[in-house]
């Protein structure tokens, strides 16, 4: 539907688990959002709760004009339901020909998903998800197990996603995509740091290199590798 505005609203969503609790308030509008936080802060739990896969103690998650939604697991092997890569693609509603036009899996149509390494599997699923055009796409630690080049490819592919809401939950600190908004989870609460580039200054958990650049007055225009590099090379 042309011109519809998609929105995800968290209204005092409270999640309680054995050794932590998390309160989340905020509105995710169209664009790419980064949710950062230390390991164990509740990023994955928040992602699961937004998808409705786990229950909240209180509060609500409201989807406005959001149709298809998808969550990519931190450990991609849990997604495997097909016996071949083509079957796996089709299980996501993505025809193989469409998938192969934008990925590096030529000649592997009949290969078993189990034959891929963890890194290759992660790249495979990111390609599947980005071919789906979901209104809401949640990526839980999409950079884990990937080498530098693979991380950069994922970041570049993400930049082509211009519609819908994309939320990336990650503690990655070197190679990140360009984002529209930064959030972070600290002390059991989700904080909205705002839109980039202003958000970068307010980002308390920013990677140490970004903090050093800010201290030197070289604030990057965004948090992608290329933007950081540009800031680094600024005189």
């Amino acid at each position: 539907m042309e011109g519809r505005i998609v929105k995800l609203v968290l209204d005092h969503m409270t999640i309680v688990r054995d050794h932590f609790s998390l309160i989340a308030d905020g509105t995710f509008s169209e664009g790419i959002h980064l949710v950062s936080g230390d390991v164990g802060s509740g990023k994955s739990t928040l992602a699961f709760a937004i998808m409705g896969l786990i229950s909240c103690e209180s509060g609500t998650v409201s989807r406005h004009n959001i149709g298809p939604a998808m969550l990519s697991f931190q450990f991609p092997e849990y997604h495997i339901t097909g016996m071949t890569l083509e079957e796996e693609c089709l299980s996501w509603g993505v025809p193989w020909e469409e998938f192969i036009s934008s990925s590096d899996f030529h000649g592997k149509r009949d290969q078993s998903p189990f034959s891929l390494s963890r890194g290759e599997l992660a790249q495979f699923y990111v390609s599947c998800f980005l071919n789906r055009h979901d209104d809401l796409l949640l990526l839980d630690e999409p950079f884990g197990s990937l080498d530098c080049d693979a991380k950069k490819k994922v970041c570049d592919r993400l930049s082509y996603r211009t519609t819908g809401i994309t939320i990336i939950f990650t503690h990655e600190r070197a190679i990140l995509p360009s984002v529209d908004r930064i959030w972070e989870i600290t002390d059991g609460m989700l904080f909205d740091r705002g839109t980039v580039p202003d958000a970068i200054r307010r980002w308390t958990g920013a990677p140490s290199l970004i903090k050093k650049l800010i201290a030197e007055g070289k604030i990057p225009s965004n948090i992608s590798y290329d933007d950081i590099l540009e800031a680094v090379c600024r005189t």
Partner: protein
């Protein structure tokens, strides 16, 4: 019941009693009501209702066919509830201590390690199943017989990979045969009371007092 030795001993006595006859089963159920956090267990263990339905159906079939359906239901109910209590009461590390206490630092330790790793694998399996279920739900794939095959495929892959990791980890941590551990157990007065209660249940099953009382009553009436 903190002491795993008492818990296992009580469970064996109770299940044996429940298996023998309906008097033992009834006594075991009374024991379960008195000495376990009964409704907490039922609330926590999702499969309880399904298990009860299955044995209920079998009991009905037996009863309709002039077999002792009611007796079967009572005995199976008691065994299931005792078994669930035993599983729910498990604390990580207990089996290692228990088997070392029974079998010593060689065979006992090995059995204990196997039991602990089995429990660890079981809880990991539940975690895996949960994630697979979520994945199927997100893909809009119903859980059917046809779709179980790739799911089983994934679980087998993960279990084999886990078994390999565990074997390597054992080797690199210096495992050869057995290990050394001094098992420590803690129990209180109520544990002893519960154990004595389980003994009493076993006695009731072996010597059914109801029959005894009935025979006694008949003799008394005869005398009158």
């Amino acid at each position: 019941m903190q002491d795993v030795r008492i818990r296992i001993c009580a469970s064996v006595l109770l299940c044996y009693a429940a298996f023998i006859n309906i008097y033992g089963a009834a006594a075991a159920l009374v024991w379960w009501l008195l000495f376990t956090p009964r409704f907490v267990i039922i609330h926590r263990v999702r499969i309880v209702i399904s298990m009860l339905i299955v044995i209920g159906i079998i009991s009905l079939i037996l009863q309709v066919n002039d077999a002792s359906g009611f007796s079967y239901f009572m005995r199976m109910l008691a065994i299931i509830l005792i078994g669930l209590w035993l599983a729910a009461a498990y604390q990580p590390g207990e089996f290692l201590r228990f088997f070392v206490w029974i079998g010593g630092n060689h065979i006992g330790f090995e059995l204990g390690v196997m039991a602990e790793m089995a429990m660890q694998s079981f809880s990991t399996l539940l975690f895996d199943l949960d994630h697979i279920r979520m994945s199927l739900h997100m893909k809009g794939i119903p859980v059917t017989i046809k779709n179980i095959i790739p799911t089983a495929n994934l679980l087998i892959h993960k279990e084999l990979a886990r078994a390999k990791d565990n074997a390597e980890l054992l080797a690199i941590r210096g495992y050869h045969h057995g290990g050394r551990l001094t098992p420590v157990f803690m129990y209180d007065r109520m544990d002893i009371v519960a154990l004595l209660g389980a003994l009493l249940v076993a006695v009731i099953a072996i010597f059914p007092f109801v029959n005894f009382l009935y025979s006694g009553i008949e003799v008394f009436r005869g005398l009158l």
